[in-house]
């Protein structure tokens, strides 16, 4: 839950959408501000917030907000 709420804060800030509007199915396809540039900002800010590091393939493999939660959780002890 904590992971999810931290991620929602980051997504909300970077994408300019409200935290309540973010669900597991939020994706670049249904969120215009989730463009390639903001994808880079998101990766960097998420890595910093959780002290983790994604490989290029992992980062590029993300399709939805749910994928992001799963990816972050897979990196944490």
């Amino acid at each position: 839950m904590e992971t999810e709420s931290t991620l929602k804060k980051i997504f909300s800030s970077v994408l300019g959408i409200s935290e309540t509007a973010i669900t597991g199915t939020t994706s670049p396809a249904n969120t215009p501000s989730w463009d390639s540039m903001n994808a880079i900002v998101l990766i960097t800010e998420i890595e910093k917030a959780f002290g983790v590091r994604f490989s290029y393939d992992e980062a590029m493999g993300v399709k939805t907000f749910a994928d992001v939660i799963a990816l972050v959780q897979s990196k944490r002890p």
Partner: protein, 587 residues
């Protein structure tokens, strides 16, 4: 602030209306890397400061083509500011790293651009990276030497061309460290060589140029005492019991006071706003040998049990400066929050660091940046302190006219003196209160006025207590539809010389000179702002008649603008009776 905070503001940018901001500026950004994130962070910095930015960029990797293209929107949209940053790092090849000819070519284009596009052009130094295969032999590295040469050339350009400013990027790099500046994955994967944190600091420091030109400079640091200027509570520990002296943490407070004294010497006004018994504080000044700051360094000292919000308003009144030019430093979070709530105009930094970090905190405070330092700046702190002594004389003298006579004021009149241009531009940028039209001009603008035949007259004032510096300015434009007429484009006076009849003596001198040179009618206008009430009646007071129409048919008239005209032929016979001849005019 955190880069995420700036990005959050920037994400809402598309929904914002320029009209809902205090100011709007047109900004060009010219870089040689992917600068989308830098742009967004820079947008966020502007919005946080209530400025709406209209930012244009050269398309990716096309800076050298755009600079050579006068039809580019970078030129045609007449930027107020241009910020340039090129990166040549030791990790990835770049045109600048490889070719000094490329640099020479681009710098020449920038010079041409500055002349054509106008506005302020801030050219950032290249980062001189200390990382390379030469390792410890940094200076043997040809890339390092080349980049130092580039930065030197940027400095020379800034010295030669008035509207070009050199920005010292390496100051940031020194303070935060290269490892916190470069983002190497960003560089290789996306051609974004910098961390968000570095871009946030860079954007904040760049913004200082925008703030300076829009009248947002800070003039005064207002300080708490207990646990700010010294450790502990003087009311409990006594004048010599407080932590201030050769040992930790007392030496950290000594270091902080030394930093404040340096700011004072650079021109910052210091004032005290604290909840203490005034006797206790007086005793510290009198008896504690470790006080670096003496009473004479403070322009105002308020030690009492009143609300600090009330005190700071009184300090602003006393010193004749705006609340928004003041920075309040207090270790107590409750007092900081109260100040933010009650006097939101005052800037209250989050001063929650241990004493050893006090001085560094001040050094890092971007809001205190100034684009240039004039001779006046260096003297200003002292001049405000001298003002306290003058007030003592006033208290013992009966009427204001004899007080003025007793001060022995001398005013040196300088028409079209190019050496004064930096100071005159600064006066137009900083003067808010006694300013009839509040038109902000750059050094370039002032030079242009002189070139185009306007009369730019400055007055430099001193009295028996010291020098006030160059404090009063008029710009007289001769470009009138009717011959024999002139307009006061600008009339302003620094607030530190208000109430001495100086403006009256100065206007009188200008009026006589103009009459002598064949000008029959002098037009003037007053454009009201939130701050220039003190200048509201200056023209009436000097015998100007209210005019019904502007002197320039079709000229844009601001809301509430009042028009005046002075018949100079009549004035020569019946000059303003309030002119105090005790003020001596010199050349």
């Amino acid at each position: 602030m955190n880069p995420l905070d700036y990005l959050r503001s920037a994400a809402r940018f598309a929904d914002l209306e320029p009209a809902s901001f205090a100011r709007a500026v047109r900004v060009n950004l010219i870089t040689n890397f992917t600068d989308d994130i830098l742009k967004n962070i820079f947008v966020g910095v502007h919005l946080q400061h209530d400025v709406y930015p209209d930012i244009r960029r050269a398309p990716y990797k096309q800076y050298h083509l755009e600079l050579k293209n006068p039809a580019s929107a970078l030129y045609t949209d007449k930027p107020d500011f241009t910020f340039v940053l090129f990166d040549a790092n030791p990790f990835k090849e770049s045109a600048f790293g490889l070719s000094p000819e490329h640099f020479d070519d681009v710098l020449a284009d920038i010079e041409a651009y500055a002349a054509r596009a106008g506005g302020t052009v801030v050219v950032s130094h290249f980062i001189t990276s200390y990382q390379s295969s030469y390792q410890n032999l940094v200076r043997e590295n040809p890339l390092f030497a080349r980049i130092e040469g580039y930065n030197h050339a940027i400095d020379e350009l800034a010295a030669r061309v008035k509207n070009v400013k050199a920005f010292d990027t390496n100051r940031i790099v020194h303070v935060v460290g290269e490892r916190h500046v470069f983002d190497l994955r960003g560089l290789y994967a996306f051609d974004i060589p910098f961390t968000h944190e570095f871009m946030a600091i860079l954007a904040e420091e760049w913004f200082a140029y925008v703030r300076a030109a829009t009248g947002g400079l800070k003039k005064c640091i207002v300080l708490d005492l207990d646990n700010t200027l010294w450790g502990g509570v003087v009311g409990e520990l006594g004048a010599t019991g407080i932590a201030l002296g050769p040992d930790y943490p007392g030496n950290a407070f000594v270091g902080f006071q030394r930093a404040l004294l340096d700011f004072h010497n650079r021109g910052m006004i210091l004032a005290v706003n604290s909840k203490n018994n005034p006797e206790d504080v007086a005793e510290v000044f009198a008896k504690n040998p470790h006080m670096v700051l003496k009473e004479k360094h403070f322009a105002d000292i308020r030690t009492n049990w009143n609300e600090k919000a009330d005190n700071i308003r009184e300090i602003a009144n006393e010193l004749n400066i705006g609340l928004d030019s003041m920075v309040f430093i207090d270790d107590d979070p409750v007092q900081r929050e109260l100040m933010r709530l009650r006097v939101p105009e005052v800037t209250v930094p989050e001063f929650s660091v241990p004493p050893e970090d006090y001085a560094g905190f001040l050094y890092g405070l971007t809001i205190l940046h100034q684009p240039t330092l004039t001779a006046e700046d260096r003297e200003k702190g002292r001049m405000y302190a001298e003002e306290r002594q003058r007030k003592t004389v006033l208290a013992s003298t009966k009427d204001i006219a004899s007080y003025i006579a007793e001060l022995g004021i001398t005013m040196k009149i300088s028409p079209n003196d190019r050496a004064l241009i930096p100071r005159l531009a600064q006066l137009t940028q900083k003067t808010n209160q006694c300013n009839a039209t509040t038109r902000r001009y750059t050094e370039d603008d002032i030079a242009r006025f002189m070139d185009e035949g306007a009369t730019v007259v400055a007055g430099t004032v001193s009295d028996k207590f010291g020098d006030y510096g160059t404090v009063i300015l008029v710009i007289v434009r001769p470009d009138m539809p009717k011959k024999g007429e002139a307009t006061l484009d600008t009339f302003l006076m620094s607030c530190r010389v208000m109430g001495r009849g100086i403006e009256c003596r100065f206007l009188d001198h200008i009026a006589r000179k103009l009459a002598g040179s064949g000008v029959a009618k002098l037009h003037a206008s007053f454009v009201p702002t939130a701050k220039n009430k003190p200048a509201e009646t200056v023209f009436e007071d000097h015998g100007f008649a209210i005019a019904t129409a502007t002197a320039h048919p079709g000229a844009k008239v601001a809301a509430g603008e009042k028009q005046y005209v002075l018949d100079l032929a009549a004035y020569a016979k019946h000059p303003c009776p309030k002119v105090n001849e005790a003020i001596t005019i010199t050349k």
